[in-house]
């Protein structure tokens, strides 16, 4: 275990965090069982825990986490209802896991017997779900006998609609559908059926209601009334074309005399959700969920520790003692009212402050090696397990990043690694058939560029196949119509998406990539993906070097002072009004032989403009495009500390944060990137001031 000691602490820290998160979320789930976002979050935490324990080689821990994850999977797919009975089993697992982590911390070996209790309980549940016996929690057991397509309690209004349609030359059918009990995504099947039928007619009444159907919260059967111009046989065959449909029963509406609907009978059970608009609205639902997840409040980071080189600490102490000396001198000089001595001492104080600042930043810096060094072991173990031959190349592991960033980096990287190992690199025989060397190569590299660090994970595997992704997305009920190839590739970041055919121990449950993106964005970074079929996939993560202090240009617009991050600034030029030309609906400026778009900060921010002839044009370069940001006055360059602003103000998408200036006032930091790109996409006018809540 010696080789693990470097990241053992990291492992303990993260395990504690994840276990705490799981405990909290599961408790919350008990009171809010329908919350899919919560289940997804739990799933991710469990998945990370599993990944980390597997990386560290703690098989006992991996085993119990995997089993526990199965339970969450049952919740997610609707095979099990969340009841306190199952929650207790999960808590049992979590307690066992905490105990395991404690044992590891004390240096004890884990025993298989430690997890036998909870495992036995899970086995019982698994048998229930996979076997014939109906799950106790499910309330609708009636329909297990015969497929039913009758609607004995039909609302009078619905009957009117149906009758009107029939008089209008349409056919009305009552249809019962039974989905294959083995189907993993019942909700998606329902969606496909509805989508298919929606093309040729209208679905009038659905039982159970659409929300439950969509969530997969039903047994195997559902029924609905369908109005169409198509014939009975056509309808039946179009449903039958959808896979994982077990049985279909299509009859003309009102055929079964025993269950003839009585139009006069008043019924309370039908809800507005059963009407057609609800069905039409379903494609939008998964997207909303995805967005909701990103807004999910992240738990505040727990107490973290950092190991510091003693030399650096000594230096720290030296500087601080020097600072105390100059403070005393300052006090003395101010008592004597000697301006010269004050200035003299201040100079020293200011030099010492910047030294301190550098030092503190350095102390917070950590080599990415801390995270990278765990991967060789993981690649070896996993490639053996998968029967793949993989070489891992690591570059730039001495690159330094802020400690908080490094600590948070391991989770997304584990996900990406698992993805590359499992889905990216092919089996040796397959590689050979494609004319590639039997051995696959994964390259992990870190590199500093300006005040950003780029981390890339590159594999020479099969790449993302847009066709396969499209097919898989459609099976899951995600509409890919009108998407470009790049957009389709980005679907792998969609929550609940996985291109792998089967669930494996390594990855492929469809959690992970969306979590990766969420994490990177949370760290203030950007994420990019390029992929080519049979050539490979490259993931690039761009992270800020430090999170708190940047060089900035202070500018004035109207009466307000703003800060602009200096890293994007190419140069600053003095501009007079007649140098700006209007072309179409965009003002441009001739810069180094190019015409670059001009953005007036006062217009962008809706600040009353000033009638001045000479302004300052800040030329910024974003990726390969130049923009000119016009400001009224230039105040100078300064190192500023970034302070977070309210999420409400962050949503305006114009400010990176705020900073406190020398005189104690607050200045906003312009998000030049967002401002320029909003113009590029033509959305600038759409993002107006927010209205009242």
């Amino acid at each position: 275990m010696d080789d693990n000691s470097v990241y053992l602490n990291l492992f303990f820290e993260e395990s504690d965090d994840n276990l705490a998160l799981l405990n909290d979320s599961v408790l919350q789930l008990e009171s809010d069982p329908q919350n899919m976002d919560l289940i997804n979050e739990i799933f991710r935490a469990a998945h990370t825990l599993k990944g980390m324990s597997a990386t560290m080689g703690y098989d006992v821990m991996t085993k119990i986490t995997h089993k526990m994850e199965n339970l969450f999977d049952f919740f997610k797919t609707g095979k099990l209802q969340v009841t306190s009975e199952y929650i207790s089993i999960i808590f049992d697992c979590l307690d066992t896991l905490s105990q395991l982590v404690e044992d590891l911390r004390e240096g004890n070996e884990l025993q298989e017997s430690q997890i036998s209790g909870p495992l036995a309980k899970i086995a019982v549940v698994e048998a229930q779900v996979n076997g014939e016996a109906p799950v106790a929690a499910s309330s609708t057991v009636v329909e297990t006998t015969a497929l039913d397509n009758t609607f004995p309690d039909l609302d009078a209004a619905d009957v009117d609609v149906i009758n009107a349609a029939v008089n209008d030359g349409h056919n009305a059918f009552q249809i019962g559908v039974r989905i294959d009990p083995e189907s993993a995504l019942k909700g998606a099947r329902v969606f496909l059926v509805m989508e298919k039928l929606g093309q040729g007619g209208d679905v009038i009444v659905v039982e159970p209601d659409t929300e439950r159907l969509e969530a997969g919260d039903f047994d195997t059967d559902f029924k609905f009334i369908y109005v169409t111009k198509n014939a009975q046989a056509e309808v039946a065959s179009s449903i039958a074309n959808i896979s994982e449909i077990d049985q279909i029963l299509v009859d003309p509406f009102g055929k079964v005399t025993a269950a003839e609907p009585t139009p006069s009978a008043p019924v309370a059970a039908s809800t507005p959700a059963q009407s057609t608009p609800a069905v039409v609205a379903t494609p939008a639902a998964p997207v909303e969920k995805a967005e909701a997840k990103h807004n999910h409040p992240q738990k505040a980071a727990n107490n973290q520790s950092i190991r510091v080189d003693l030399n650096r600490l000594d230096l720290f102490l030296n500087i601080v003692s020097e600072l105390v000396v100059y403070r005393n001198q300052l006090e003395d000089a101010s008592k004597r009212d000697s301006m010269d001595d004050v200035k003299d001492s201040l100079e020293h104080v200011s030099r010492l402050t910047s030294e301190l600042q550098d030092l503190v930043l350095k102390i917070r810096m950590q080599q990415v090696n801390v995270v990278f060094s765990r991967f060789p072991r993981m690649v070896r173990d996993l490639s053996q397990q998968l029967g793949k031959d993989i070489e891992l190349i690591i570059k730039g592991e001495e690159t330094e990043l802020d400690k908080t960033v490094v600590a948070e980096l391991s989770e997304p990287l584990i996900h990406l690694f698992r993805n590359s190992l499992d889905h990216g690199i092919e089996l040796p025989d397959v590689r050979e058939a494609h004319g590639k060397p039997r051995q696959g190569v994964i390259e992990l590299s870190a590199m500093q560029e300006g005040n950003k660090v780029h981390i890339t994970l590159k594999d020479d595997g099969k790449g993302l196949d847009p066709v396969a992704i499209r097919a898989s997305a459609e099976r899951k009920g995600i509409n890919t119509e009108g998407m470009s190839e790049d957009e389709v590739k980005k679907l792998v970041f969609h929550p609940g998406f996985s291109t792998s055919q089967e669930v494996t121990n390594i990855s492929g449950r469809g959690v992970g990539l969306d979590a990766v993106v969420a994490k990177i964005v949370e760290l203030g970074g950007a994420f990019d993906l390029t992929s080519e079929v049979n050539v490979g996939t490259t993931f690039t993560i761009k992270l800020p070097l430090t999170l708190s202090i940047i060089q900035a240009l202070l500018v004035k617009v109207g009466t307000e002072t703003f800060a602009t991050p200096l890293d994007v600034v190419e140069r600053v030029v003095m501009v007079t009004e007649d140098e700006i030309t209007m072309t179409g609906n965009q003002e441009v400026y001739a810069f180094q032989g190019m015409l670059i778009p001009v953005l007036r900060t006062d217009k962008v921010l809706d600040i009353p403009g000033q009638a001045i002839q000479r302004r300052y044009g800040i030329v910024v370069k974003l990726e390969n495009d130049y923009f000119m940001v016009l400001v009224d006055q230039l105040l100078g360059q300064q190192e500023i500390v970034i302070k977070k602003i309210d999420s409400l103000l962050q949503q305006l998408n114009r400010y990176q944060g705020a900073t406190i200036l020398g005189n104690g006032s607050v200045a906003l930091i312009l998000d030049v990137n967002a401002i320029c790109h909003a113009t590029k996409g033509g959305t600038l006018n759409e993002v107006g001031p927010l209205n009242e809540i």
């Binding site: 505040a300 307000e560 921010l605 809706d606 600040i607 302070k643 977070k644 602003i645 309210d646 409400l648 103000l649 305006l652 114009r654 400010y655 944060g657 705020a658 900073t659 406190i660 104690g664 006032s665 607050v666 200045a667 906003l668 993002v687 107006g688 001031p689 927010l690 209205n691 009242e692 809540i693």
Partner: protein, 130 residues
């Protein structure tokens, strides 16, 4: 429960003292262009940047001529400033003293309390802009 009594434009209001972290005198507020109009701006509270909400604009009552105080609220770890005219005093209010509770569930007002010789509206922070 303890509540803070404050006034705005001759009207009196009450807010639960649990949620109020501190009361500060109004300091320089930096405006935020494009923000909702009830966002007064940002202040520097001992090195932390806090959003200040103009209570009068938020709840749709006439603005006071002067705003002397900012109530610093803490709602589940999120801090916000609430710009008001002036804090009067801290009072002990029993739950049963709150009348007309729950009449308008959408509103920021959760009831009315008659204290001494004035009538004060009770304001709920959770329903404020958090």
């Amino acid at each position: 429960m303890q509540m803070i009594l404050f006034k705005m434009n001759q009207q009196h209001y009450l807010i639960s003292a649990d949620t109020v972290e501190e009361v500060v005198d109004t300091i320089a507020i930096t405006q935020v262009p494009l923000a909702p109009k009830w966002v007064e701006g940002l202040i520097n509270l001992r090195g932390t940047v806090i959003t200040v909400v103009n209570l009068a604009t938020l709840i749709g009552v006439a603005e006071s001529a002067t705003n002397k105080n900012i109530l610093v609220l803490n709602h589940e770890g999120n801090r916000k400033g609430l710009l008001i005219e002036e804090v009067m005093e801290v009072l002990d209010i029993e739950d049963q003293d709150v009348q007309l509770a729950g009449i308008n569930s959408d509103s920021h007002f959760v009831g009315v309390v008659a204290v001494e010789d004035v009538i004060a509206d009770v304001i709920d922070v959770a329903k404020l802009s958090f």
